[in-house]
Structures are given as structure tokens and as C-alpha cells.
Amino acid sequence: MNQYQYDAYDQQIVEERARQFAGQVERRVSGEMTENEFKPVRLQNGLYMQLHAYMFRIAVPYGVLNSRQLRKLGYLARTYDRGYGHLTTRQNVQFNWPKLEDIPRALEHLAEVQMHAVQTSGNCIRNVTSDPFAGVAPDELEDPRPYCEILRQWSTFHPEFAFLPRKFKIAVTGTPGHDRAAIRYHDIGVRIVNNEAGERGFEIWAGGGLGRTPVIGKPIRKFIEYEHLLSYCEAILRVYNLYGRRDNKFKARIKILVNELGTEPFRLAVEAEWALIKDSALKLTRAEYERVAQHFQPPPYEKLAAAPGAGGALLAAELGRDRDYARWLQRNVLPHKVPGYKTVVLTAKDKDTPPGDISDTQFDAVADLADRYSFGRAVVMHTQNLVLTDVKESDLRDLHQRLVELDLATPNHGLLTDQICCPGLDYCALANARSIPISLELNRRFDDLDYLNDVGPCSIKISGCINACGHHHIANIGILGINKHGAEAYQLTLGGNDSDSASIGRILGPSFDEHGIVDAVAQVIETYLALRLSDDETFLECYRRLGDKPFKAAVYKDATPRDDDSEQAVA
């Protein structure tokens, strides 16, 4: 096993939830419940009203799916949607076109495969996210998934924290040297670490977040032992629930509380609360940890000899013969902690499809591939891709063939066209501008794979409004849609980073129209290529060395000076 399997208690809870929600939908349809009363209830069940229809968001705890669940998602896409679903930045899956009256039935289907839509929206604790390569990354200190699952159970229908001032997101990484879960941009970020005495425990960050006011979290506790994870989180949540602002929804996230109180007073308030509950029954037991952890035991790997030089030699052997395959090996195939195995990213980023969209047939096919090549498991990445975590090196060529047929083999993992993109004005009632067409236009502009590889690692993230669902603040190149005098316009931010050396992107200058923004990105990239010290200096490193200036000069060289509208983005 390498996924948590429900016992009778877990199963009972999701089935009772499906029944509860069916009753709530009935009372809403009959008019007994007003829309105002129904709204928070449906949100906490993943039903969000978009521009044209309800969006239905299904929880995928820390992104982990098995093949039965993948097939069920394919079935739901076919039966209740228009044949596709969407991978989200919280490692969830959402559908854009379901009907309200179908949801109770869909929930029953989900409960059959140990899934649900609990707390995927609303002002509550959301799906706990983690490193998509948890359990297989060679640089990992410890598998974070057992702790994610323990947090999932603690946060599911927590009676005290169902009506927080605002949404609340937790991420856990088990690789302190390389954060792939963006823990610094979460309300609580948890890092598994060793302390100076060499003991294993957690470092706790709090008060990070994106949205209108992007904030990098603060480390508020250098070390706690494993048994205090729940009590420490409960203390943070209680302080937030009692003292977080409720007068203005745009100032209600914990990041604002931490900023207004100051990090140190906030930390002291948490510590004071924690001191009173740390020795309560919330203390995690070794038995409970082990009960959960045994679900994440490594699958039955074969004893294999690693291909000599791991990826390198494999790649060299292929480069001359099959360029497509070689490029894919180079970009989408990642190291694995077990010799002879690799981790494979399935990019949902082909050039004609909105980033992160997966069709019903792709769900089914990925399920088959997971069964055949990866112990029946796949993972949703927060970058809106899928991963097969445990593929034998000897299977890579066959797998590549199948992925090419499925349009899931674009060799662009971590490159310019591997974008995060919010649904934008095509779907979302909050958006000021469309984001998907910008993404597709960028794909057309950057369709030369040699060029993309030459540019190297560089993230582009696109949000259609200042709520920042597309994470543009933490992209190396961020694009923000705004409404400028009634027309869609786009701002460019540079220099954001979502990992260990966290930074928030800065607005380069005045906004562009939908064609201008794509030209501007191209000019930024050209400038980088001209100015980088060597092929090894990444875009982010180059930007940090040089600052805005050369990029500004290149992008605005033909522009006549005019009013800077940059303040709109931080309003």
C-alpha cells in the first residue's frame, strides 16, 4: 500500500456526509433553506457558484489517487460534466458543469471509492497539500503523507473551526532542503526537520498566503516533537478563530492577523494557548502514527540495477535516435530513491488545452497506466499536472508511447509552457480578465521545444483577477488580469519564487492588452537570454542579479511615457 485506506469509521463519515448533503439540497430546493443559509453549507461541500454554473471541487488529500478513483473521476466527467475535469492548485480535481440536483448522487459515487468533497471551499480548513514526490524523492528526509493524513482527519468536520474568518490552508513538506509544497505561502506550513540534537520533529510556519495581499509566512516555532502536531495546529487555529478579523473579508486571512499583531505577539499568543492544551489527549500516540504510517509503506519494488549514470546515460543513448523521447526523459522523468525506478510527470499542458484540463478518457487511461506501470497510484501536482511516482526505467519507453497518444507527454515540466492558470473570465464570476486564452497564446508563441529547453526552468503563472488563484505573485513571470477602463488588461510581475528562497514578484510597469502581454513575455525572455552569465544561470538568478532595469528597458522601449497603473494590483 502507499495510500491511506479507509477503515469503517472513515467510511461511515463520508457516507453520512453524502446523506446529510442530500437532505440539505432537498431543503434548499423546497425553499426551506434560503440561498444565504445554503451557501456556506454547499461551499464546505465543494460547490461554488461560477459564472455559468456550479463548480464542484472534489478533495484529493495531498494529491494521492488510486486507479479506481481515477476511473471514478472519468465516470463523473462523462456523466455529470462535459467530458472533462480540471486539476487544481490544491491538488484537487474540479468539475465545471454539474447540476445541483446531481451532486448527492455524485457524492455517493465518490464515497464508494473513499472520496468526498469535504471542505474544498468555504471558510474552513481546506485540503492539506504536500510534496507531489512525497515518498519517492531521493532528497526527502521523511515521508510527510502520514502527517498529512493525521491532519486531514483532525481537520475533517472539526466542530470548532467550521466557520473561521476566512479559508485556511495547510501544507507539509518532508524535504527541508527543497520545498516543493510552497509551505511559505500557506496559513500553516509544516516542515519535517531534525533539530540540533538530531531529533526528528517539525518546524512550523504561519501567516503566509497569496490573494490580494501576498505575504511570505513566518517561522513561529523552530521545533516541536511529532506528538504535538495536532495541539500546536489547534492552538494556532483557536487564536485565529477568536482574533482574526471578521469585519472585512479581504483582511480576514491569518496573514493579516499576524501582520497587525506583529509576529512576536502572535507567536506568544499561540504559545500561551498551546501551553494549556499540549498535554491534553490531542497528543499524538505512537500507535496512531504507526497505524496511519503503515498505509504508506513502500510498494513491492523489484531489486533492480540502476541504469548506469541514472538519467544521464539513458538520455545520451537516446539523444541521437529519438529526440522526442530524449526530450521527455530530460524534462519529465525525475530521479527516484529506489535504484531502477523513476518518477514521471504527466504534463496536462499540451498546447491546445487549458492548463490542467483532463478528459474522461485521459482519466481512464491514466488509471490503466498507473495499474500497469506504477503500482496503481497517481498524484495530482499543485502545478496542475499528474505524476506516476514509481515507474521502472525499463518501462519508460512504452509509457512514453502511451502518453504521447494521450497528449500527456509534452516535455515541458518546469519550463515556460508548464503554466499554472486560473479559470479566469471564461468561468469565474470574480475574474476581471480571461486567463486561459493568454496561456494558449503563450503556448503558440513558445512552441519550439529547443528554445524552451534553452531558456530552462522558468515558471509562468496567470491569474484573472487580484484574488490570485493562479499564484501569479510567486511565479518567476507572473501575469495578472485587471479591468482597465472597462477593458481586459494584463500586468507583468517578475521575480517571484514559491520555494525555499521565497520571494514575491514585482510589477514591471504599465499593463498591456492581450497581445501586448505575450509580446512582453517574449521580450523578457529574449533579454534574459542575452544577459545571462551562462546557460546555468536561471531566469530567477539572472533577474535577482540584474533587477528590473534591463527588462523594463526592453519591454517598454517603444512605449511613450504614461501614467503608471501599477497601484491597481495592490489595491
Binding site: D7, Q153, E160, F161, L242, A281
Partner: protein, 161 residues
Amino acid sequence: MRVIKDRKIVDDAWVLLAPDAPVPEAGDVIVHLEQWNTGRESFSGRAGKIGVLLKSHESPEQIQALAQLPLIAIDFPSFTDGRGYSSARLLRERHAYRGELRAVGDVLRDQLFYMERCGLDSFALKAGKDIEGALSAFQDFSVTYQAAADDQRPLFRRVNR
């Protein structure tokens, strides 16, 4: 007025007074926190019980002589204001309050399960709502994961999983 108390519908005579309204000579009344803290000496000897209203920005530590109160009403100005859940747990678990803990204000069926878990045991449902129908909300779930006022043990300490 009919309220839910210990999962049953009962007739109830508690009257919530406006802030600073004079406290009548007799009858069971719920007064605001300030009134209780400043005037509680003067209430002894009147016929009828006194309870206190705790607004969502007020905290349990502010209530003086807590143990003397037969009832504390926790105000939910809107059902989406979740501060009352923490206040209820603190009253039960930290201040060992054993009297009646009543939810008042925007109290709706769909929140009763959570409220009861946090230690509230009586519920003045919002006017116009189906009080009989609301009783079934306590059975929404038969399993819970967390420690709360109703059980100090999380599921992993309650059962052998």
C-alpha cells in the same frame, strides 16, 4: 418560547434583556455581560434567575463569578461568525462551566451538530425555523474524529482502530 434543550423541545421562560434595560423584580432574565459584572451584587434577593449573554467579541475570562450562573447564552450574530464555538469550548473545558450553555441569535439546524460538540446544550433556533425538523441534526454523524467538549479524546484514543 420553545427551545431545544438536551435534544428535546421544551417551553422556556428565559427573557433576553436589551443592554442597560432595567432588570425586573422577578422572572428569568439574560443580561449583558457588562450589566452582570457591574451589578451582580444588586441582583441577589430578586425572584428569578439571572443568565448572561456573551457576545462574539467577548471572551469567557471576562465573566465574573461564572459558577453562580445557571445559564450563559452565546450569541451568534450571524451563523458564519464562528467565535462562539471557541468560547463554548473554553467555558466547558477550561473554565469547567457546568450550567446551561445556550446558542442564541442566527442559530440554524445545519450548525447544531458542531455546536453540541463544542459544549452547547440548548438552542434557541432562529425565529420561523422548523424546530421539530432540526432535532434530527444531532444524528447527522455517528462518528467524529476530534476531541471536543463532548469527548476529551480524539477518535484514536476512543477506539482501537
